[in-house]
């Protein structure tokens, strides 16, 4: 544990020196500040911010994570010469990436939120924070898996972008396709299941329903609303996010354990 902490500390100070992280923080600062200040009512600002978050966080996390893993390969190899367990090292490197990313996201949205001085939507804001952090955890883990599975940097980076495209854009196309193919059947539950499977969609929908968009959907909306606002919905959604995180982290750990550096 001690070793892990030391590694986290090292990674932390290393990553904090990276200018990309500063740009990432500044980006969120700028976006949320302008949304909270010029966006009119804070609900609308939060919806817009969420739209940015569900696209940007996965993209940055997965690309930054992959790049970072490739760049710290020599460091990892050096450390592995020491009598340190691979598990501790992996967790150290992983957390050392996730924590600064999450912190810079949190700082980027928290400061403007407090500056705006409007705390009416604090619950929704917390939901936004939690979703953002979960997305960071999941997509950084995915980045590590990709980085460990591909030794070729270009291939790995390409694969990372592909995964992002798949989950952020193509997946919704597939959902729409499913809705059309099975339009003669009650597809609501299937669509619900599909959207829970994709963390990006899950974040977006959780947020949409919080803003009562469900009323637009008539019967379907009522069904979704009932599911997502009930305890079962929250349980299932958080379970989905946790399972995604756990699976990817474990997969990364396994790959790291068995990898021949």
């Amino acid at each position: 544990m001690n070793v892990t902490l030391k590694i986290i500390k090292y990674e932390f100070s290393n990553i904090l020196r990276s200018k990309w992280l500063i740009i990432y923080t500044l980006f969120f600062l700028a976006v949320s500040y302008s949304l909270f200040t010029f966006g009119g009512d804070s609900g609308k600002a939060l919806v817009s911010l969420m739209n940015v978050i569900v696209i940007i966080i996965p993209l940055i996390s997965i690309i930054f994570g992959t790049m970072y893993l490739y760049n710290s390969r020599e460091f990892v190899e050096t450390i592995l010469c020491q009598p340190i367990s691979r598990k501790a090292l992996f967790i150290g490197v992983y957390l050392g990436t996730v924590i600064p990313l999450s912190l810079s996201f949190a700082a980027g949205v928290l400061i403007p939120f407090f500056l705006s001085g409007n705390y009416d939507e604090i619950n929704t804001f917390l939901l936004l924070m939690v979703t953002g952090i979960f997305l960071t955890i999941i997509f950084t883990a995915a980045a590590f898996v990709i980085g460990l599975k591909n030794d070729d940097k270009v291939k790995g980076l390409g694969f990372a972008i592909f995964v992002w495209l798949l989950l952020a854009i193509v997946y919704d196309g597939i959902v729409l396709f499913v809705i059309y193919i099975f339009q003669d059947y009650p597809v609501e539950n299937a669509v619900l299941a599909l959207s829970i499977l994709n963390p990006v969609d899950l974040g977006r929908i959780l947020f949409l329903l919080n803003f009562d968009i469900s009323a637009l959907m008539g019967y379907t909306g009522a069904l979704f609303q009932k599911f997502f606002s009930g305890n079962a919905g929250i349980l299932v959604s958080s379970a989905s996010l946790c399972i995604w995180s756990a699976l990817l982290i474990l997969w990364g750990l396994k790959s790291f354990d068995g990898k021949d550096f």
């Binding site: 854009i169 959902v175 977006r204 959907m217 008539g218």
Partner: protein, 414 residues
């Protein structure tokens, strides 16, 4: 000479008698000579004023068949005790001021009202309070009457056992002004009414519609507020209706509308504000409506326009931050859109005349997808949908090609 004097004297006496008759007041109070309203009505002649002092009066159904004025002092409470009607008015020129009328009975057979005007003319219902009545003010086959400054509140739970706040049936020339109506089935309900003027009313939290009218031609609705009603405002089968400067706010729910228009022709909807309604205006089978200078803000759908509507004109409206500005179920277009401001518009204005140089397509591809597949609304705000919308706006293939605003404004219209 004597004869003439005599005649003048007789005339004077007659006139005097008339004046005395006209000015007669009957006082009703719990510790006075006349203790009940019914008793006062028996004593009264046409034209009398009955003053009802503060107190509690539960007299069952009070039938007014003389042209009297009933005036309350400090809002005396007239209780229907939950059975039958409270005031039934069968005589012309009857007025009621300053009364509190409670508990007209819920019935599945009779439409019991706190005040019912039955085939009368020239009546006034001004400044009364109504609580927990089945129907509050009910006019049937009446004309030239005024309903003003009333506070009407009910706490109906279900549509089936609750009645309307102000209910007009086969009426003419009625003015409904400055009333507050809460918690009824329909706030204001008009059927077969002509020339009514509905002004400055506030209709809120009603179970079904804030305002509901059918077969009511030449009516004018100005400066009313309709807020958080179960299904907003529904107007059907009428001609020459004017709806001006009203506010439609927060009529939000799976089957709610700001205004639902069905078979309305030759009407005006102008200077209204629609904020946070599921569908601000739903238009079906309507012709020649002028929809001008309205503000649509933060609605789910600003306008749902069905294909069986034609020759409607949408001009100088503001469409701001609606999830969908316009949706329709047809690829052709028989309506005119011109000079509106659309917050979704992304064109440019090279000659700086305030009018965008590229026409605006207000129908998004996604709104057509949603029209066909409700479940796909779950994809709202997703990047995939945005990509589709952009592709479609460049080369329209599914959205109505001709439905365009040729002169989209660059700035919000004041």
């Amino acid at each position: 000479m004597n004869k003439i004097l005599n005649k003048i004297l007789v005339l004077l006496i007659l006139l005097g008698g008339f004046f005395i008759l006209d000015a007669r007041e009957i006082s009703v109070s719990k510790n006075g000579i006349v203790k009940t309203i019914k008793q006062a009505l028996q004593l009264a002649e046409n034209g009398d004023v009955i003053i009802i002092h503060e107190g509690y009066y539960a007299e069952g159904n009070i039938i007014v068949d003389k042209s009297v004025t009933l005036k309350g002092v400090n809002f005396p409470i007239i209780d229907g005790k939950g059975s039958g009607e409270v005031f039934t008015i069968n005589s012309d020129f009857t007025s009621l001021y300053g009364l509190t009328i409670k508990n007209a009975g819920v019935s599945f057979i009779a439409e019991n009202a706190a005040i019912r005007l039955n085939e009368v003319t020239g009546c006034k219902i001004i400044g009364n309070r109504f609580y927990n009545n089945f129907f509050s003010v009910y006019l049937s086959k009446s004309s030239n009457s005024i309903i003003k400054d009333n506070f009407i509140k009910s706490s109906g739970q279900r549509e089936t056992n609750s009645g309307n706040g102000i209910h007009l049936w086969y009426c003419k020339d009625i003015s409904i002004e400055n009333n507050y109506i809460f918690g009824h089935r329909d706030g204001i309900y008009l059927e077969f009414v002509e020339n009514a003027e509905i002004k400055k009313n506030y209709s809120k939290n009603n179970l079904r519609y804030g305002l509901h009218f059918m077969f009511s031609d030449r009516c004018v609705y100005t400066s009313n507020k309709f807020e958080n009603n179960g299904a907003g405002v529904a107007v059907m089968y009428s001609k020459n209706v004017e709806m001006i400067s009203n506010l439609f706010y927060n009529n939000w729910g799976p089957a709610s509308f700001g205004i639902l228009l069905k078979d309305i022709t030759d009407s005006k909807i102008e200077h209204n504000r629609f904020v946070k309604n599921t569908s601000a205006i739903y238009i079906e089978g309507c012709n020649r409506i002028s929809i001008k200078k309205n503000n649509f803000e933060n609605n789910g759908w600003a306008i749902k326009l069905m294909a069986n509507s034609s020759d409607n004109i949408f001009r100088e409206n503001n469409f701001i931050s609606n999830s969908f500005d316009l949706s329709t179920n047809s690829r052709s277009n028989f309506n005119t859109f011109e000079g509106n401001y659309w917050s979704e518009y992304s064109g440019y204005d090279l000659n700086k005349d305030g009018v965008g140089d590229v026409p605006h397509h207000p129908v998004r591809l996604f709104s057509i997808i949603v029209e066909q597949q409700q479940a796909s609304l779950i994809l709202l705000n997703s990047l995939f949908i945005k990509t589709l919308d952009i592709a479609e706006s460049v080369i329209p293939s599914l959205t109505p090609e001709m439905l365009i605003d040729t002169k989209p404004m660059m700035k919000v219209l004041k």
